[in-house]
Symmetry: C2
Subunit: 406 residues, 2 copies
């Protein structure tokens, strides 16, 4: 029997699960895996520190005061006077929460599907046995305003229109403000998935007339996954009161009441919120516009570098959160991802589902460092040559170094 007070001081000879995992061991001890995936993105170091500070009791005065600041900071970021609710779930949980709180059995819901996450909207709607009307957009493209108008006219009784601000699977940005200009004149509720958009580019929920925004912590907000956000405007809250889909954990009326007291309805993900406080504090100190224009310039430089290599951008209306690159037909894109991982310890994302092998995706949002992006392009050039592509080695790296004076 180990003595009571000594129990947790016993030196750890074997960390079984860490030992078992070769990659994890390599990762933790020998080599730092550089992360360029469009979520999770690298963690903001000061937030890391806050998340490692002694955990607060979620019903304490200290936490209530912290959450009061977070609440204000989130509203500013979302561009709204409405409450931004904080859930403990992935972004998908927040997407479902939006549907559960707007709809009733029998409702008809419109989805514009321009990729995997549009597909997720459709799945959620179907899972709750609602009627879904899908407008499919070719991958890499976004809907035109004329298409949205037609869709709305075709289904005048629809309850909600579900879109992405950024469709992470292809790297495009939807014309959110123009779509909102249409829906705000109607009874249709515009629900926007801003998971890989919030904290990347300006979002003006109230000015644009977006009815519902959902987002999450692990993209532009430079935090680990685990928090999600939902914001309803007055039109959406009116629908919430009438919504008849049953819910408990995702009952947003309860969350609204809680946040008005600087609380969450159930045990808050306290450490992540400690980190969020630091990120928001930082973002508002440097100024949102500074953050957004910096990310924009970074993305623009990456897009120039890609084109210098003779490669095509996959996204027709590219997001600043990530750069998606069309892989030339003769190359298998999954090999680029694997080689970068195994030979250079760098993680980028490939294409998902039908885009598997056809595109690669590199994050420019969040805490991705310019210096690391230069290392990535040095490696990427080598990998492309190894895979048989004729490119002028050094060209993309020169573009980046020049843009960033590095």
């Amino acid at each position: 029997m180990i003595k009571n007070q000594a129990l947790f001081h016993k030196p750890l000879k074997i960390l079984t699960y860490f030992k078992r995992s070769h990659s994890v061991r390599k990762h933790s001890m020998h080599k730092h895996m550089r992360l360029f995936t469009p979520g999770p993105t690298p963690i903001f170091p000061l937030a890391q520190k806050a998340m490692s500070s002694p955990i607060l009791y979620h019903r304490s005065k200290a936490f209530v005061e912290l959450l009061s600041g977070v609440r204000e900071g989130l509203k500013k970021l979302v561009g709204t006077r409405n409450e931004v609710l904080i859930l403990s779930s992935s972004g998908t949980g927040a997407m479902e929460a939006a549907i559960l709180n707007l709809c009733s059995p029998g409702d008809e819901v419109l989805v514009i599907r321009a990729g995997k996450f549009g597909g997720r909207w459709a799945q959620i709607v179907k899972a709750h046995a609602l009627t879904v009307r899908i407008l499919d957009i070719p991958l890499g493209e976004v809907p035109t305003i004329a298409q949205v108008k037609t869709l709305m006219m075709q289904y005048p009784n629809a309850k909600a229109l579900l879109i992405q601000a950024c469709e992470t699977s292809t790297g495009v940005n939807f014309p959110v403000s123009e779509i909102a200009a249409l829906t705000k004149k109607s009874d249709l509720l515009l629900v926007v998935d801003a998971v890989s958009y919030l904290g990347v580019s300006p979002f003006y929920m109230d000015n644009w007339g977006v009815d519902v925004m959902v987002s999450a912590s692990q993209k532009g907000l430079m935090l680990p996954p685990g928090l999600s956000f939902v914001c309803f405007n007055e039109k959406a809250w009116a629908a919430q009161k009438k919504s008849k889909l049953t819910k408990y954990y995702f009952d947003l009326a309860k969350e609204r009441k809680a946040i008005e007291n600087n609380q969450t309805a159930y045990t808050s993900s306290v450490t992540l919120i400690q980190g969020l406080a630091v990120v928001l504090s930082y973002v508002h100190e440097i100024g949102m516009q500074t953050l957004f224009s910096t990310i924009h310039q970074k993305a623009q430089a990456l897009r120039n570098a890609v084109q210098t290599l003779g490669l095509d951008l996959f996204a027709k209306v590219p997001s600043d959160g990530l750069v998606s690159i069309a892989v030339p037909h003769k190359i298998d894109g999954t090999k680029i991802v694997t080689k970068l991982r195994d030979e250079y310890s760098m993680t980028i994302a490939g294409g998902q589902d039908e885009l598997k092998g056809k595109i690669i995706r590199i994050a420019c949002m969040g805490y991705v460092q310019s210096e690391d992006l230069i290392l990535l392009f040095e490696a990427l050039e080598k990998v492309l040559v190894e895979l048989g592509l004729k490119i002028t080695v050094g060209q993309s790296v020169s573009v980046l170094k020049k843009e960033w004076s590095l």
Copy 2:
């Protein structure tokens, strides 16, 4: 315009939201708030370190290997051959997930309500418009086996029986294995909330015949809140296939498929799982029995100390996760909590709802240190005297010091 690469290196002159919060400032810089709440409990330092390590990509080989170890470690802790699913939510989310995956509209569900969390079971069942049959147990007590038998006979067509392993609001342990001995001979599904029980005392899901177990990260597992766990046995999975309540994020069939590939269905709470790997690794290295008997001895010493002061234990069948103390009638228990917080920087929990002011609760599960518990009892004695109670100062502290050879 701040130069691109310099953006995140700008020194932070004002951390707005931290500055705003007096308590947080005090907490972070001047004084360490000692945490004795029955969730969140203090974080295991090695897990803290793992959570601060560079974040893994949730679709990477490294994460898959990590999750494979976690999966095995969780099964051992739960005492099951079934998969233990990992959700990103609070414990309440996991409770609702259980109901959503067992029930269909029209189902009748039995709840034994011995406190706030039994009440939560009832609320979840009602929220989904199912028929709930509640057996109310006086606060501080647990049901007898005869009462459970009667309940089962009274409602022979009920789908499930919902109980707590430990009712955190009062500090009692239910006779789970004896209740399971009844239900496993019937069609009734036994669903056990083990949120403040798992990692505290032995749980033998398969041997006992528990059908569904739910738990969470912020209690015995010494992690921040944000992860929850659900385990179904074969009887429960058979019910899952027939369940007709609609769900998406909490669709456990999808999570089961994912975990079989060492993944979660949606973006995993990666950093918390990094921490979980370390906790499980540690627990299995020292041995579960060592952990449980150490916590038991710690709890037993605290219970002795409480009785030495002439105070009554509130829980008739006390859990080892927390000690709940009945506050003498002439004293307002909320004052004890407030004084400990404001004058001694120590956070304990009071009673909730109708127990407000009537009990106080002190965690003995997780990473609560004996040395800190001694400091707490020194402070508690002083506070009780200040509030007019006649006790012999130093008596409870002596008991603890003797028990722990400190």
